[in-house]
């Protein structure tokens, strides 16, 4: 795992998504989800390339089910982009790098 991706927990979630000026893209994932594993390296790469413009964080829904419920996550991977601490964009399902960058492009 690259250091560029922040690991969130139930305790740190609210603070982390509100901190800093850049938008935060949160990856809701779990160990048992095959497609989640396939996008992890893609997110690592994007995090490395977008330092200062975008923060990427991951939340294990097994460890933080309350937060998944709060944002009505019903399918993983789900990516939610938070701007100023509020959800601004939601991407459901695993996607390739080019498509992900296109979907979040307006926030970069």
């Amino acid at each position: 795992m690259g250091d560029a991706v922040t690991t969130l927990s139930e305790g740190s979630f609210d603070e982390e998504i509100a901190a800093g000026d850049e938008p935060v893209l949160v990856d809701f994932w779990a160990e048992w989800c095959g497609p989640c594993k396939m996008i992890a390296p893609v997110l690592d790469e994007i995090a490395g390339e977008q330092v200062g413009k975008l923060k990427i964080a991951k939340l294990n829904v097994d460890e933080a089910p309350e937060i998944a419920r709060r944002f009505e996550v019903m399918s993983i991977p789900t990516l939610i982009l938070f701007k100023d601490g509020e959800p601004a964009k939601r991407i459901v399902g695993a996607k390739g790098k080019a498509q992900l960058l296109e979907e979040i492009g307006e926030f970069l």
Binding site: W32, G34, K37, M38, M74, I76, G96
Partner: protein, 320 residues
Amino acid sequence: MTEVRQVTIIGSGPAGLTAAIYTARANLAPLVLEGEPSSTSDQPGGQLMLTTDVENFPGFPEGIMGPELMMNFRTQAARFGAQIETVKASRVDLSERPFKIWVGDTEAEPTYLSESIIISTGAQSLMLGLENEARLMGYGVSTCATCDGFFFRDQEIAVVGGGDSALEEAGFLTRFASKVTLIVRRDELRASKIMQDRALANDKIEILWNHRVTDVLGESKVASLTLENTQTGEPSSLDVSGMFVAIGHRPNTSLFEGQLDMKDNGYLVVEPGTTRTKIPGVFISGDVQDDYYRQAITAAGSGCMAAIDAERWLEAQHDA
């Protein structure tokens, strides 16, 4: 000038990665175009990426998780020098050698050139094709029971289909859901005996025979399904918060339309008993040419055959 590869493998399920292991060990430095992440089975690792326990792959007496098995295949291929790229072929031209393969812009120069190609693009799950099904995808409609079952704890959900994958999904989902209704078009199941026995013995599974789904209702997430009795035409409604569809597969063959022979159902055709096609140097393995067995082990077996067919064909070319 783009380097001409000896072997390029399109696809990275059990067939593609077995072909990669064999051709890599034969020093052919294979290039594997593994596909792009997706939440359907059309993704790196293929259909097993969406399964949990694989109980029938020989060598794993306690079973193994599908994604873990595929990660092992991939690691093994990489260990022998297979070059694995996380990209999806957008066009192939098989009209002359070296064959041309594009990634991304199909009007640009070809991305890769290859003396031989092994096609292992597999098959993907069919959906019902309803407008509201697409709208509610990820909001109660799921393509991946193993990914999403967790979110339906203590809820009532439906699985559509009567084959092995439908019954496997239904059984898996009873770990979370309070009740799973299996919606079956006919009055019998297509699934294997062992899967039928398990499903019929599971108290949480109720089978609704002779019904099909005609609509999925819900504002922001699935609330109910509209059903129709396939014998009487009588409509009814079923309140569920989730719908998982497992009604069959279609092969991923659009790249090859007009270039390779296909059956009426879209599956590619090989010379019987081999992986060869009417185009010398093009080989096919795995589910994309198999509408009958469709197992991980048969896909892996045919991937091995394709690797050996390609290796011998390349040798014959160089000797000529």
